[in-house]
């Protein structure tokens, strides 16, 4: 019941916040609940046996018997990584959001925080669901909190952006629903209907049936992850959302797309995944370059950060559909790392926008002079986003590139162009906002305060720690992706001419 408790804790917290009388208590209550959730997730991590791998902490109850629907939860290396991303991010995002200026109130209202808590709980549920129907329900349910977080608490143009978000994601969800129903039919044909992942894996199906079902799931996930050309909703939504909403949406919820690609597309339809792999890899490479080029040209800070994410999601999808253990492990690690660096970028630019009263890059200039900590944080987030070695995203991006290269050298090499473009969009952003003579219009800005530094520092520490020592996490991730890789059956090509072990290798172990 540990996973149920983990998902329910923030949801119940959110309900309490929404229903109890308003007041300042709500802010610290939200921090406390998300903090407790983080603590509980660490307990889950402690209970998880890394050596053994596979689905653990499983729970299962029959829910809708005639349809074979179960309330079934469990985590493997993939799910656990994303659950941890969710629980680590949320408390600090909430902390950073406490003074957000909202349309109706000065400072975060309880309703705003309540939706964030509910969203956290639903996200945890999505990453733990081991029943396709349960996953589908929770997947759709996450749209509700985001819809309100954007539509009710966003900035100018929030109504339009919220609708755009909803229409886009609803279309994806509907197509996926068709595929979910299709799975039921197949499963019922084969005997007892069941939506359990374990029962659906290896289900007999015709080549074209498999491909159609694959497409149903893939389309929904490609919208969520945003893959070119289905990406336009993301910059629009981020452009009208508060920074905290953007972090939860881009860093956590969008990962459901790439998570789903591994869990469902590759896991349930391995043949179709291999079939689609060349096309998806091509779309992913287009996303990498296209998103980066758009980010170079972007003038709105929020859109700019969202567009860098389009490029990064391109890398994640590329690694998944390169179908090697190396690239897939890179992608899963990338999901977490991207969450951290994007959180820093959204939150720092969020403070910049709030203080300057404008999101236009051209409205800033020379800010480094009056706000050195703020500019330092922007630079750290930016360097992390451009995958500087020593920072977490480097290892994951490299694994994606070399894993892809081992199967498709041309695609891997073209994707590597992204590292040059990333340097351009990050350093251009920094130069235009932070350097140069102090623009008279930014005179009123102040540097980051204690609360803001407290919210951002954990991310910086994690980015550096995982940059130098990602191995514990990779130990969690590898068995999970290895299993998927085996199901698909493509795997990592052997090195053509393996290098012999050098003579100079140290012989002594220990002393």
């Amino acid at each position: 019941m540990m996973l149920t408790a983990l998902a329910l804790l923030p949801i119940v917290g959110g309900l309490v916040l929404a229903l109890a009388p308003r007041g300042d208590w709500g802010r610290w209550f939200a921090v406390a609940v998300t903090g407790a959730t983080l603590g509980l997730s660490l307990a889950v991590l402690a209970r998880y046996d890394v050596e053994a791998g596979g689905m653990q902490l499983t729970e299962q109850r029959t829910w809708i018997e005639p349809m074979g629907v179960h309330y079934a939860l469990g985590v493997d290396g993939l799910g656990l990584t994303l659950v941890l991303l969710t629980t680590v991010l949320t408390p600090f995002v909430v902390l950073a959001a406490l003074r957000d200026r909202l349309p109706a109130s000065e400072g975060a209202s309880n309703g705003y925080l309540a939706w964030m808590l509910v969203l956290e709980g639903l996200a945890i549920g999505v990453f733990c669901a081991t029943d396709v129907f349960l996953f589908y329900v929770l997947f759709e349910a996450t749209l509700v909190p985001i819809y309100f977080l954007i539509g009710s608490y966003g900035t100018a143009g929030r109504g339009r952006a919220a609708i755009g978000f909803l229409v886009y994601n609803l279309v994806g969800g509907l197509v996926m629903l068709a595929a979910v129903v299709g799975l039921y039919v197949l499963s019922a044909d084969a005997g007892e209907p069941s939506y359990l992942l374990t029962d659906l894996q290896g289900l007999e199906m015709g080549v074209w049936t498999e491909r159609m079902l694959f497409l149903g799931f893939f389309l929904a996930f490609a919208i969520k992850a945003p893959l070119w050309p289905l990406h336009t909703w993301l910059p629009d939504a981020a452009g009208a959302a508060t920074p905290a909403t953007s972090v939860l949406m881009v860093s956590v919820i969008d990962k459901i797309g790439t998570f789903g690609m591994i869990r469902f597309c590759l896991g349930l339809f391995p043949g179709a995944s291999e079939w689609a792999s060349p096309v998806v890899m091509t779309l992913a490479v287009i996303s990498i370059l296209y998103g980066a080029l758009l980010a170079i040209g972007a003038d709105d800070l929020r859109r700019l950060v969202a567009l860098t994410s389009v490029s990064h999601f391109g890398f994640i999808v590329l690694g998944v559909f390169a179908l090697t253990t190396t690239s897939m492990a890179g992608s899963v690690l990338y999901m977490l790392n991207h969450g951290l660096s994007t959180a820093v970028l959204f939150l720092v630019t969020g403070v910049m926008i709030a203080q300057r009263g404008s999101a236009d890059v051209a409205a800033f200039g020379g800010v480094q002079r009056i706000a050195p900590i703020m500019s330092g944080m922007l630079l750290v987030g930016g360097l992390s986003s451009l995958s500087l070695p020593g920072m977490a995203p480097f290892v994951s991006e490299l694994l994606v590139i070399v894993g892809t290269f081992s199967r498709e050298p041309v695609i891997g090499a073209i994707a590597a162009l992204g590292i040059v473009l990333a340097a351009v969009y990050v350093l251009r952003l920094y130069r235009r906002t932070m350097t140069g003579p102090l623009s008279p219009d930014v005179g009123g800005m102040r540097d980051l305060g204690t609360r803001e530094v407290a919210a951002l520092s954990p991310f910086v520490v994690l980015i550096l720690a995982l940059g130098f020592y990602p191995q514990p996490l990779l130990d969690v991730i590898e068995p999970a992706v290895d299993e998927v890789s085996h199901v698909v059956g493509v795997g990592d090509p052997e090195p053509r001419t393996p290098a012999p072990v050098a003579q100079s290798e140290p012989q002594e172990e220990g002393h």
Binding site: V167, T232, A329, G390, I401, G403, T435, Q471, T497, A502
Partner: protein
């Protein structure tokens, strides 16, 4: 076995700790922060000297010690250990980096005394030293890449240290981005190694090279060369180096002359196994080196900005090293020899230029100098030592190191040899021009400028570096440096020379003398105009050299402007075509809803709310009923 040589990590840890301390400690450390930074670098030098002695005390075939600190990452087919190799090559670099680095730290105490952000400056210098040591100690190409990008970051931060100047911020960005183009080569080379050899361990790659096909080896060589071109400002990725002179002068001395920019040469020499196996890759290296050595020298002749003239010279001298590295086992050791002596005399001259700027109110225009030898005697004499060393005055360090490269180049090919000989003459010309315009002739000082000698904290490092510039040639005594490096880079085979070596040496001296004489006739005996002649008044060759042989124009035309157009094109495409298609779809929904006589947004909103409220309620009810 507990071996002192297993502690090479301490070399990196000391300056890294210094950097972290200085970056996180508050304002109260402003008073003494620079001493922490200097101490960290000095301690690393002392440790480097201890290790060097220990290494020299070992047998010649037992001078490579690899220590694995921990596994950086191990997943799928990739395993990378955080491992350091302390051997003859890295030991030399450690001494150069920490030795020259420490002198420059000391110098900076005086040079940056009035800067309110001096503590941060020292933090970045420490960060640089740590990254550069990682680069040269790495036992794996990916660890090398970590250091490689680390020095790139330090370079970025320090070029843009005075970031309130738009020119400095732009120069920093340009340096980083152009280096990233080179990094693209590095990353693809790493991917290629993993795909074919399954490892990026430098020693294992070396043992695996013989099994590779010619195409792959040449590919690796060219890709690594691309990386080297970026870091070492070699054609075609040279354009960032002159702009990088926006950084404080100690930075130009340490990073953009003595150490970081030579990392490309280090990379090629360290990858000797790859270049030994590919003649095509070696030829490409020679071509890049030759073109850059002549281009840099040409630029050095026309610049009136003392730092840019020196930067052109740096390009050119690194061209010599690259060329030597491309000559294979015959040239590797001489490339490194010239790299070390150049580290001495170029750091010396850059710091001298800084001292001149310090005394003239940060003026960099040599046309505003003249006759500074009397006002700044120590700077003059130390600079003169560097000057004589770089032009190859007999007996000084540069004489030995450059002579060896020219000799080896002639052994390879007469035309390449003639190119290096021509380069030596042009070097003598531009350095004499610089010397004459700065220290000799008549005063052309601007009003209110009273040149004065720099404080001892700045002149003492100058004196030490001047001594090294003079004496650096001792490394060649008894073929010490070639014998020392032979286990790493292979034994040199002496090519048959077209003429006896002594004739070559004399020819070099004649060409150098001609260069000096020509410059003296033009800038020493004749009056130097205090204002530069305009572009119209000078010949096309001067105009071209002034504009850095139009390198920036070429980059703009071929890369920057097309990229800008691509960005605008993609942005417009995204807005009108991709998003347009979607909003067209949304428009259909809206029209449909208007057809029903409802208001668009309100309708969709309430519809969505009802839909989701209903779905959520249904799900909750089902959940409650069935679980209960």
């Amino acid at each position: 076995m507990n071996d002192v040589l297993d502690t090479a990590w301490v070399l990196v840890a000391l300056p890294l700790a210094g950097a972290l301390l200085l970056l996180t400690w508050g304002k109260e450390s402003d008073r003494f922060g620079h001493w922490i930074g200097t101490a960290a670098s000095a301690a690393s030098f002392v440790w480097g000297a201890v290790l060097f002695v220990a290494l020299a005390g070992r047998d010649a075939d037992d001078r490579s010690v690899t220590t694995t600190l921990f596994t950086w990452f191990d997943v799928g087919r990739v395993r990378v250990d955080m491992a350091l190799t302390y051997d003859q090559l890295s030991a030399l670099f450690v001494l150069l980096i920490t030795g020259v680095g420490t002198l420059i730290h000391v110098y900076s105490i005086g040079y940056m005394a009035d800067d309110p952000r001096r503590r941060r400056f020292f933090a970045f210098l420490n960060l640089f030293v740590a990254a550069m040591l990682t680069l040269v100690l790495a036992a794996d190409y990916l660890v090398l890449f970590l250091g490689w990008e680390g020095v790139g970051l330090a370079s970025y931060l320090l070029i843009g240290f005075w970031q309130h100047k738009p020119s400095a911020a732009a120069a920093a960005q340009k340096a980083f981005v152009m280096n990233r183009v080179g990094d693209l080569g590095m990353v693809i080379a790493i991917a290629l190694m993993l795909a074919h050899l399954g490892t990026t361990d430098i020693a294992r790659v070396a043992t695996g090279v013989p099994a590779l096909s010619d195409g792959v080896v040449t590919g690796l060589g060219l890709l690594l060369l691309l990386g080297a071109c970026g870091k070492s400002a070699q054609v075609p990725l040279q354009a960032w180096l002159l702009d990088a002179m926006e950084g404080p002068t100690p930075v130009s001395a340490l990073i953009h002359a003595a150490t970081m920019v030579t990392a490309g040469v280090y990379l090629i020499v360290r990858s000797a196994a790859i270049y030994d196996a590919s003649e095509a890759a070696r030829l490409a290296v020679v071509a890049v080196g030759l073109v850059t050595l002549l281009a840099g020298a040409a630029i050095g002749c026309a610049k009136d900005d003392i730092k840019k003239a020196l930067a052109g010279s740096t390009m050119s001298q690194i061209g010599y090293m690259t060329l030597a590295a491309g000559l294979g086992p015959a040239g590797y050791a001489f490339a490194i020899f010239h790299l070390v002596t150049h580290g001495f005399f170029k750091a010396n001259m850059f710091l001298g230029a800084g001292s001149v700027m310090h005394g003239t109110g940060d003026d960099v225009d040599m046309r505003h100098y003249g006759a500074l030898r009397t006002a700044m005697p120590v700077t003059f004499f130390t600079f003169a030592a560097g000057y004589l060393a770089i032009i190859g005055f007999p007996g000084l360090s540069g004489f030995w190191s450059k002579d060896k490269i020219i000799e080896t180049a002639f052994g390879f090919n007469v035309w390449v040899g003639l190119g290096t000989l021509l380069g030596a003459g042009v070097t003598a010309f531009y350095m004499t021009r610089l010397m004459a315009m700065t220290f000799l002739g008549r005063k052309r000082w601007r009003e209110g400028v009273h040149p004065h000698e720099s404080p001892a904290v700045m002149t003492v490092p100058l004196v030490v570096l001047a001594a090294l510039s003079v004496l650096g040639g001792v490394m060649l005594l008894g073929h010490w440096i070639t014998d020392w490096l032979a286990p790493v880079v292979g034994e040199a085979h002496h090519e048959e020379l077209p003429v006896p070596a002594i004739v070559l040496t004399l020819s070099v001296l004649v060409v150098v003398a001609a260069g000096v004489a020509l410059a003296w006739a033009t800038y020493g005996r004749r009056e130097v105009a205090a204002d530069a002649p305009t572009d119209r008044e000078v010949g096309w060759w001067t105009r071209a050299a002034r504009h850095e042989l139009y390198g920036n124009a070429v980059n703009d035309a071929l890369v920057v402007r097309p990229t800008g157009q691509l960005v605008r094109g993609v942005t417009a495409f995204d807005k009108h075509v991709v998003a347009g298609a979607v909003s067209g779809l949304a428009g259909l929904f809206r029209d449909a809803s208007q057809g029903l006589g409802r208001l668009q947004t309100g309708f969709v909103r309430s519809y969505a709310l009802v839909l989701f409220g209903g779905a959520a309620a249904l799900a909750a009810a089902l959940l409650a009923v069935t679980i209960a």
